[in-house]
């Protein structure tokens, strides 16, 4: 199993393998591991055709910088002429008329898109159990969840069904499944990757990012997809630093902060705490500065996140009404019943829960108490985070309080499930970049993830740090 583009490139050059054969291998693996439920659709013919074309380009020496990279797309990123469903029944039969900006950019550099990947419905979940198409199984222990919401994106890479995948992260949906599957998952600075063509969950939180086996592949893909996009008014306006150039900084000793409360919070598994502490000690032994700091807003992070994301979601998901595309209820008789029945029958329970929560917090009479207040606290979190970064280069925490839990273990307890996001939502609330990297295993051999957050716009610096650690 290939775990880096560099390996693939070496074998392509030596003639050990060619692109059509590589794609066939992936297709075979997908077939073999179908029961993991990672893929919702495989673009077999198309992937083979593109492999043949790009193989010729490689021979002619004109191939793009992602030639040889076979990737999967989370089922909330649109691709022209292909079905997309956000793992929801409500988009049944819908095919996109256009491609997401990142899809265009990946294809332009000769990546091969091999299929679309299962996820929690509309990216709402932390276990992939909210998919209309069933949970994704963790390849390391099939009784356990993949994490979510980009569960298919993590497991497809974990199980060698593609080299890299693109997911989306609204509150940890890239980092947490990457952590559960022993992979690298990167959530860029808000606006650094265009959201055009990403089916919106919560617009001011959503971002697209990659999941891979190693940091160099993440950099290469970020170099391809990141940057300004005229189709996304919230995308970064100025040019951003290259991910491929080595940093010029001479200072090799860094200042790390870790939030005390993240290791003391109830529910952090002992192994997770121990491995995180071990990592911190190693940093100290390498001469870096590591300080414990206090962050008194940690307890309000999850409430703020769910207040604001559900508010935005209640509006973003209003377009799915059985009217112009996708699923329409057979029981509808007029305008009102078309909307009500299509939505009632088309959305799953978690999506409905969040739409109702969001509708409530935006209602007149409750707006100030919930939405406005949460916006103010979001501002506070941003300010406090900036304060920390005045003194520190990076903030460290576990990615998740636990390792991959059992399928069904938390699915009846939404609050417990929401707390799985406790460490990851911070980066989305503040808009800052954050990565989850593999950091040891628990006693069951399940991977533990470590999260490192960096200041706004320090995406390349963060990825470079991982390369040098």
């Amino acid at each position: 199993m290939y775990t880096s583009l560099a390996q693939i490139r070496t074998d392509l050059e030596s003639g050990e393998i060619n692109l059509p054969k590589l794609v066939n291998n992936y297709l075979e693996t997908i077939q073999e591991k179908q029961h993991l439920n990672a893929f919702l659709e495989v673009y077999e013919i198309e992937a083979k055709e593109r492999a043949a074309i790009i193989e010729k380009k490689i021979e002619a020496g004109v191939a793009g910088k992602l030639a040889g990279m076979v990737i999967g797309l989370k089922d909330n990123i649109v691709y022209k002429g292909h079905k997309v469903s956000a793992s929801s029944k409500i988009l049944a039969g819908f095919e996109s008329l256009y491609s997401a900006t990142i899809v265009e950019r990946l294809l332009a550099e000769d990546a091969i898109i091999i299929g679309r990947l299962n996820c929690d419905e509309f990216a709402m979940g932390a276990s992939n159990e909210n998919s209309a198409f069933g949970p994704v199984k963790n390849a390391l222990d099939e009784s356990r969840v993949s994490g979510g919401s980009s569960g298919g994106a993590a497991v497809s890479v974990q199980a060698g069904m593609c080299l890299l995948s693109l997911g989306s992260d609204t509150g940890g949906s890239i980092r947490q499944p990457a952590s559960f599957c022993g992979l690298y998952g990167f959530k860029p600075t808000y606006g650094y990757v265009s959201r055009y063509g990403l089916i919106a969950y919560a617009s001011s939180f959503d971002i697209i990012g990659p999941i891979a086996h190693n940091i160099e592949d993440l950099k290469l893909v970020m170099e391809t997809i990141a940057g300004s996009d005229e189709n996304d008014a919230t995308s970064v306006q100025q040019a951003i630093p290259s991910f491929l150039q080595l940093p010029k900084e001479t200072e090799s000793k860094r200042k790390f902060a870790y939030i005390k409360e993240t290791l003391e919070t109830e529910g952090v598994e002992p192994a997770v705490k121990a491995e995180t502490e071990k990592f911190l000690k190693e940093l100290i032994s390498k001469g870096h500065q590591v300080d414990a700091i206090s962050f008194d807003l940690l307890s309000v992070m999850v409430p703020v996140y769910y207040t604001l994301t559900t508010a935005e979601a209640s509006s973003n998901l209003a377009r799915f009404a059985g009217m112009h595309y996708g699923f329409r209820s057979q029981n509808a008789v007029d305008l009102e019943s078309t909307i009500k029945k299509s939505r009632s029958e088309g959305f799953g329970p978690e999506v409905k829960r969040r739409i109702m929560l969001g509708t409530f917090v935006l209602s007149s009479g409750y707006y100030d108490a919930y939405y406005s207040k949460a916006q103010k606290v979001r501002r506070l979190v941003k300010n406090k985070t900036e304060e920390i970064f005045k003194n520190y280069d990076f903030i460290i925490s576990p990615t998740s309080p636990t390792t991959a839990f059992k399928i069904g273990e938390k699915s009846d307890n939404p609050l417990a499930m929401y707390l799985a996001d406790i460490f990851t939502v911070h980066a989305n609330i503040a808009g800052i970049p954050a990565i989850s990297i593999p950091n040891g295993h628990d006693t069951n051999g399940l991977p533990i993830g470590l999260q490192i957050m960096a200041p706004l716009g320090k995406d390349a610096a963060l990825l470079n740090l991982i390369s040098t650690l």
Partner: protein, 489 residues
């Protein structure tokens, strides 16, 4: 009818505020680059963005922002330097996203006023609460198919500005004048075609009545679907009468939305307050907040034409036209510009105004043309005026013969054409005296009668002179010489 006759309507005062939606004449839609023209084949002027497809995002349209600012300046508003867009959430078949992008708490323009002139010449000021930018919805058609409602999404996403007045309007006629002023302004600014029949200018009215002198407002009723300025006036007048009559009967006014039926001339209940929606406004997260810099504001001001109020001021004060003439000439930007064009070549403003308002407008109306389609350059009209002023041609010959001829032969100057048509007047005394002598010689007995005191006989002699000169005698000069000759005879 008897009841109505016994009601003292003057005891009451109406309180009316108007909400005017003006569709922008921008090349593309509000938040994407789809083009839009009225009357296109249904669902052809759309894209994934205006169809609200999953994953699409809106983007700013700079022209809409400029237009809104122009209208704000024209209405003497303050322009907000910091503002954000908001989503107004509601479900409807012709609203693809399930929300409308609009502005809520931070409209681009606030606190303005518009001056209107009533028929009796009095002036009134109507306050402008706010002007904000938003997008239009598509159109639902309920009468095209027996079993289905059909949806046309061409209009979805077309940019609008909404102009909200203060409740300063007191009668249907004021509403009419206010709306005329708003239409005049959007047309001057070239930001909306102002066509109420096609719906590019739409008006909703909030109407209540109260006893004169009362401070509290009465219960307000919203009236919609008035698709002409005249209907706005009719609907308001009907509604005021309906509300007063109801109150006099001891009935209650309910807060509701009413439709105007133009055929029956009355308003009818459309929906009551109970059905009102909670729109759950919140800041639009897909568009960053907007900052209007001084530089941008200045650049927009530079693009603005002279406004009707300023032109009216200039025409009445500096040029000395009557208020009526100034009013008529500033009704339309192109007419005003043509008028100023004539004034570049002549100082006779009154004549320029008359030529434009009578001869040219008459011709345009007859031919159903706009001033921009008019073939004659303003300089040519000034040439005609000069010929008249120099007594080279009579007013009637100019209107009846020279002007129509010039419409046919644009390449000749007015003087050349007058010569060609033999319309130039004779003011040479020798020529004139010859014709006068002939006339006097023809009727010696009339000369005697004149001398005996029958002064009205000058008309007879002038007639003869004109006949002999084939109409070319300059009437002024000829009259003077004729009287001299008669006195001497």
């Amino acid at each position: 009818m008897n009841e109505v006759n016994t009601i003292d309507f003057d005891k009451y005062e109406a309180v009316i505020g108007l909400e005017v939606h003006a569709q922008m004449l921008t090349k593309s839609k509000a938040y994407c680059s789809d083009p839009y023209t009225y009357g296109g084949e249904p669902n052809t002027q759309v894209s994934p963005i205006s169809l609200g497809h999953p994953g699409t995002l809106p983007k700013h349209n700079k022209a809409v922002i400029e237009n809104a600012i122009k209208m704000g300046i024209a209405c003497n508003c303050s322009i907000a330097s910091h503002q954000y867009y908001a989503r107004k959430n509601y479900f409807y078949a012709d609203l693809p996203k399930g929300y409308q992008i609009t502005q809520d708490k931070t409209p681009i323009c606030t606190d303005g006023k518009v001056s209107i002139r009533m028929k009796d010449g009095s002036e009134r000021h109507i306050g402008i609460t706010r002007i904000h930018m938003e997008e239009d919805a598509g159109k639902s058609m309920h009468d095209q198919d027996v079993y289905h409602s059909l949806i046309d999404l061409n209009r979805a996403g077309v940019p609008l500005i909404e102009i909200v007045s203060e409740p300063d309007i007191r009668a249907g006629e004021e509403a009419y004048q206010y709306l005329s002023e708003i239409r005049k302004l959007v047309r001057y600014l070239d930001i909306c075609d102002g066509n109420m029949e096609e719906g590019s200018l739409r008006c909703d009215a909030n109407i209540s009545v109260r006893i004169k002198g009362a401070e509290a407002f009465g219960t307000k009723v919203e009236v919609k679907n008035m698709n002409s300025m005249r209907n706005v006036q009719r609907a308001i007048d009907f509604e005021i009468e309906r509300q007063i009559t109801a109150l006099e009967k001891g009935e209650k006014i309910y807060q509701e939305t009413r439709n105007f039926d133009a055929i029956k001339g009355r308003t009818l209940t459309m929906r009551t307050k109970e059905g009102a929606s909670d729109y759950r406004y919140f800041p639009e997260p897909d568009l960053p907040p907007l900052h209007i810099t001084e530089t941008f504001l200045e650049s927009v001001k530079m693009q603005m034409p002279e406004l009707p109020a300023a032109l009216y001021e200039k025409f009445t004060k500096a040029i000395g036209l009557s208020e009526y003439d100034a009013q008529v000439l500033t009704e339309n930007k192109d007419i005003a510009a043509y008028f100023e064009g004539i004034l570049k070549h002549t100082h006779n403003a009154k004549a320029a105004a008359n030529w434009l308002m009578v001869n040219i407008k008459g011709y345009l109306n007859e031919q159903a043309l706009e001033i921009n389609d008019f073939a004659l350059q303003p300089a040519k009209i000034a040439e005609i005026i000069s010929l008249i002023d120099e007594n080279k041609i009579s007013n009637s010959a100019a209107s009846q013969r020279l002007f129509p001829a010039m419409l046919e032969e644009h390449h000749l100057s007015a003087l050349q054409l007058a010569e060609k048509l033999n319309l130039l007047q004779e003011s040479n005394s020798d020529e004139l005296n010859k014709w006068i002598a002939d006339a006097l010689g023809k009727f010696p007995e009339k000369v005697e009668e004149y001398k005996a005191g029958k002064k009205s006989l000058t008309g007879l002699f002038m007639g003869e002179v004109m006949k002999a000169s084939k109409g070319k005698a300059d009437p002024k000069a000829a009259t003077k010489l004729l009287i001299e000759a008669l006195e001497k005879a």
